[in-house]
């Protein structure tokens, strides 16, 4: 139907907007996160033209953004059926299927998208994401490389390639592609605005290297172990990091000074992000510097011991628990659980759960009525040093892939880490241990996005797993 026809068909007094304008508006509202408005417009457009493929497709995206995944898929599948050769549709559906955990459908849509648009770098990138999720890592690398071939300055594709290589244990190649991370949109502002070069691993005079605590807390804790290596080449480096990390990184020897603002760095000859050190140091899976480089102060450990002795019933094993990560993390949906999904843990009467969770998810403890006593300790924990002191006073930590896992690993505290089927690259594949943290045991999903059986395995092995010894513990 043409715009003119629409105008003719409109009842008197009704304002008619040309279809192209309405579609453009719907798309804009979705991109501007005005989801309620977008929803309303989508409904009206669908009511007027229920068989228009592009309205269906865009409405599907709006449904997805509003959390109505089934409806989104239904609309988008209908759009694709009506217009099977439109390359945009399978390209976007690939992501929607991934979000819905339907990886078989996602990969099918992904291949269809690259078939319809063989020169669309974005379509190849989307497909690479799915292939990573399916752990088809060689194919993921190949498809990411195709995207790079089509658009050599496509940081996301380089980064995806890096992650697939690193997860496959191809560290040396992986580190090279990993350098593209600072060109990602979300990395803006992570590095100082400077004309100084990135450090190349050559010696520098004392105090002339700036090390930057980039990325998340976990990465900084993990790579912090390489600061002494850098300090051998460039003594007394300046470390720039967030205030939250400072008390932790201060425990690592060799640093000249710590700053939390760019203007305090002073003069330097070169800079290096912490996450750039493994590449320079040539870290593989067999030469990771040992953990145990962080420890809580004894006095604080005693203070928390006294507190936990009061809060936790005597005679029960204390299990620390973290079930949710930072919601803004790109893979949070994959790694975060609901507290109630740890039900097998709650059924154990011989343990006391000590949640060291921070942030909004702590509210979930208000709904807890399991057999095992639960202490919602997060509200009392101020920083990572507190967390370490608490971990010294528990039997073991059970956690998802978040910064607390790194804290536990770096201090050598025993921990059980539950991981998605396609985990972050650092946890590698097919192993229960990790070269980064010997005190952590890994528990992997058997099916993507399906936690069933994982927590049960953690709980079953609590008895025999390596445990911490703490003053309040009874045999």
């Amino acid at each position: 139907m043409s715009d003119a026809q629409q105008a003719n068909a409109a009842p008197p007094g009704k304002q008619v907007v040309p279809l192209s304008e309405a579609l453009e508006k719907l798309s804009r509202l979705e991109q501007e996160n005005k989801l309620a408005e977008a929803d309303d417009l989508a409904k009206r457009m669908l009511a007027a033209m229920p068989e228009h493929p592009h309205i269906l497709h865009l409405s599907g995206i709006v449904s997805y953004r509003n959390g109505r995944v089934e409806e989104a898929i239904e609309r988008m599948e209908k759009a694709q059926a009506l217009s099977p050769d439109a390359p945009l549709y399978p390209r976007n559906m690939c992501e929607i299927y991934r979000g819905a955990g339907r990886l078989d459908d996602a990969v099918r849509a992904g291949y269809r998208a690259v078939e319809l648009a063989p020169n669309d770098a974005r379509a190849h990138f989307n497909l690479a994401l799915i292939l990573y999720e399916r752990l088809e890592l060689d194919e993921a690398v190949r498809v990411a490389e195709k995207a790079i071939e089509l658009d050599p300055e496509y940081p996301e594709a380089h980064f995806e390639k890096a992650e697939a290589l690193l997860l496959a244990g191809r560290m040396k190649e992986g580190w090279e592609s990993y350098e593209w991370r600072f060109k990602l949109k979300q990395a803006e502002g992570m590095l100082p605005k400077t004309d100084k070069p990135q450090w190349d691993g050559q010696p520098l005079p004392p105090g002339r290297l700036l090390i930057i605590g980039d990325q998340g807390f976990g990465d900084c804790i993990q790579f912090g172990r390489l600061i002494p290596w850098a300090a051998l080449l460039c003594p007394q480096p300046v470390v720039a990091c967030s205030a939250e990390l400072m008390p932790l990184l201060r425990q690592i020897p060799g640093v000249g000074k710590f700053v939390s603002r760019w203007e305090d760095t002073g003069e330097y000859d070169a800079y290096i992000p912490l996450s750039g050190l493994p590449r320079l140091a040539g870290i593989g899976t067999d030469n990771v510097p040992p953990a145990g480089y962080l420890a809580p102060p004894d006095a604080l450990v005693k203070e928390w011991a006294a507190k936990l002795d009061l809060l936790c019933p005597k005679g029960k094993k204390r299990i620390a628990l973290v079930w949710a990560g930072r919601p803004t993390h790109k893979n949070d949906k994959k790694r975060t659980l609901q507290l109630k999904q740890f039900a097998p843990l709650f059924a154990r009467e011989d343990i006391c759960i000590v949640t060291v969770q921070k942030g909004d998810p702590i509210a979930q403890t208000g709904s807890y009525y399991g057999r095992a006593p639960l202490v919602n300790l997060g509200p009392e924990i101020s920083d990572f040093i507190d967390t370490m002191a608490v971990l010294r006073n528990v039997h073991r930590l059970v956690t998802i892939d978040t910064s607390v896992a790194h804290v536990a690993g770096a201090m050598g505290a025993p921990a059980s880490l539950v991981l998605p089927k396609a985990p972050d690259w650092r946890w590698l594949l097919g192993r229960e241990d990790t070269p980064w943290y010997p005190s952590i045991k890994l528990y992997r999903q058997e099916q993507a996005y399906d936690w069933s059986g994982v927590i049960e395995r953690v709980v079953a092995e609590l008895q025999e797993a390596q445990s911490g010894a703490y003053p309040g513990m009874e045999a």
Partner: protein, 595 residues
């Protein structure tokens, strides 16, 4: 009266108060007509007078009395308020306040009467009537030890001992669990004023509480012999039947429903419940609640509760509370008992009170009062926002000072004493004050007594007990109040680090010994739980919490009562199902049903 002289009165345009005396003669004439019960003539005259001068005190007073006599409560209250607000000499204003407060007390509106009585007391501290009034108001608003102070002042001011004041003081002491003192005072009070029927009822309740059931029944039977038509005494006698599990006697005593009042029909409902005549019980409570709605306008008013809940949820968040100062451990450990009304906190308190080192404080929870004081002490606006003032240097020790006050109250009750390490605190409003408790006693145990929500509905809907916002108005009101209560607890548990333990009523009545062992282990109390412990098996503690009066053996039949009701009346809970279903699931009672 014309609106312009009444509800639309322009206060700025009133005649000067000193000119009001010009109409005193006519006002006295109206008072005379009133005293001669010539109400229509009296009203016609005062209407004219008030049209000329809307602030003529004596005329207003006559109209106030007329409206009271007519049972036009809102109009009477409005007139009482206007009289109390009129300018004039201090003693005249104090008298107006006293009259207004007395009126509110007679209406059972004690909370409203409190500031009025306080104003009168400040103006006339040497007036025995006002001191007595203050005693009544404080006692009825839960400030029972404070009420005692004013009763005793009234007694000192009176030229001779007064049977009414003594009886009221005795009731106050009964509420404090000081039953022996109360019994002694009742003897004296009833000797002075033997016709005080309420005093006789109070005496019977004290005797019941002292475990002297036969004596209590004898007092009531004797009184009923004298005043056979006294429905309050008859109701007390029926409640004694209930407590002795003689439901057939209740039904016989109260007779058929016709002509009965709400509280009487509710007692009948409980009797039917004891007899296992469940449809009859449900019918009775439905009748009673309908009657209360239709005749007394009893309706759930959740607005203030919801606003309070929103304010508390906004304030008590992990980040905000973490930075507030805390008190250090005190002389004893309070054990905070949480639970919806009728959940079983009273039963748990009764059981704990039998263990060495424990004392039960009943519902005299000082925290509500302390929360009110925080705003005053800090000058920081309303509670809980005023807690922000604790961050300022001068207020850092406020939690310590408030904890000292908490302890002082317990000492005054005779609870904080050598050998007592744990004092239970089961205030019905405790769920609001978990945040403040956290600041005063950061690591003290919080025991939450859970019970199947349907059982709570049943137990509350049959009780003639006033709840916040009139939540007792019916089952739907109760369900909404339950959701508000549960949501508040959930929020605070989710935001605060608490030494929290849930206890299920169903476990408590099935195996009290096991549950008590678990609770004792959790609290860290010394000593062992006696074998075969039950609610009425141990020594009677002193002072005796009021609910101990009705203690009976722990009854496992109290668990899951709703099942029998559902079997008899499958649709009984239809109106509350949607409200309660999420909580039933959250508490894990779905699993129980599945088993």
């Amino acid at each position: 009266m014309r609106a312009i002289r009444c509800c639309e009165l322009d206060m700025a345009a009133l005649p000067l108060q000193e000119n009001a005396a010009l109409l005193d003669t006519q006002a006295s004439e109206a008072a005379k007509l009133f005293n001669e019960r010539k109400y229509a003539e009296a009203e016609a005259l005062v209407q004219k007078l008030l049209d000329v001068m809307p602030n003529q005190r004596n005329a207003l007073r006559v109209l106030f009395e007329i409206r009271k006599a007519q049972n036009k409560h809102e109009a009477a209250a409005a007139l009482g308020r206007r009289l109390a607000a009129l300018p004039g000499a201090a003693n005249v204003r104090a008298q107006a306040n006293t009259q207004y407060a007395q009126y509110l007390v007679a209406q059972g509106r004690h909370e409203e009467a409190l500031p009025i009585a306080a104003a009168a007391l400040k103006a006339m501290p040497k007036d025995a009537t006002v001191q007595h009034l203050m005693g009544v108001v404080l006692t009825e608003t839960g400030a029972v030890p404070e009420g005692e102070v004013h009763y005793r002042k009234a007694l000192k001011l009176l030229p001779a001992e007064d049977g009414l004041v003594l009886a009221n003081l005795a009731w106050n002491l009964k509420l404090q669990g000081r039953l022996d003192e109360a019994a002694e005072l009742y003897e004296k009070a009833l000797t002075l004023r033997p016709e005080n029927r309420r005093g006789v009822g109070g005496k019977a309740q004290v005797e019941f509480g002292r475990g002297r059931q036969a004596a209590a029944v004898a007092v009531l039977d004797e009184a009923l012999g004298k005043w056979g038509d006294d429905r309050t005494l008859r109701l007390l006698r029926a409640m004694a039947d209930l407590a002795m599990r003689q439901p057939a006697a209740v039904l016989e005593r109260l007779g058929a429903t016709d002509g009965l009042m709400g509280p009487e029909i509710l007692v009948r409902a409980q009797a039917f419940d004891q007899l296992g005549q469940l449809p009859e019980a449900a019918n009775a409570w439905a009748n009673a609640r309908r009657m209360q709605r239709e005749r007394s306008g009893l309706v759930y008013r959740p607005e203030a509760l919801q606003a309070r809940a929103a304010a508390y949820k906004a304030y008590f968040t992990a980040d905000r509370v973490q930075v507030l100062p805390r008190a250090r451990p005190g002389a004893f450990t309070p054990v905070f008992l949480l639970g919806f009304p009728r959940a079983g906190t009273g039963l748990l308190e009764q059981l704990l009170a039998q263990l060495p080192g424990f004392a039960g404080a009943d519902e005299f929870a000082p925290l509500s009062d302390l929360a009110g004081q925080i705003a005053r002490l800090t000058g920081g606006g309303g509670y809980p926002e005023a807690l922000d003032e604790l961050l300022l240097g001068g207020n850092l020790d406020l939690p310590e000072r408030l904890r000292a006050q908490y302890e002082e109250r317990r000492a005054r009750q005779g609870l904080a004493r050598p050998g007592v390490n744990f004092i239970t605190d089961r205030g019905a409003l405790n769920f609001w004050h978990i945040g403040l408790f956290k600041l005063l006693y950061p690591e003290a145990p919080v025991i939450h007594v859970l019970r199947h929500p349907y059982d709570l509905m049943l137990s509350n809907v049959m009780q003639d007990r006033k709840l916040e916002g009139n939540a007792q108005a019916g089952m739907l009101a109760l369900a909404h109040y339950y959701a508000l209560h549960a949501d508040m607890v959930r929020h605070l548990r989710g935001q605060l680090t608490l030494r929290y333990m849930p206890v299920r009523y169903e476990d408590l009545v099935t195996d009290p010994e096991l549950v008590l062992r678990e609770v004792l282990g959790f609290i860290g109390g010394a000593g062992a739980v006696p074998q075969g412990i039950g609610a009425n098996s141990g020594q009677v503690p002193h002072p005796l919490p009021a609910h101990f009066a009705l203690r009976g053996p722990v009854r496992a039949a109290g668990a899951f009562r709703h099942r029998a009701y559902l079997a008899a009346m499958p649709h009984l809970f239809d109106e509350v199902r949607d409200t309660l279903a999420p909580w039933i699931e959250e508490l894990g009672y779905m699993e129980e049903a599945a088993r």
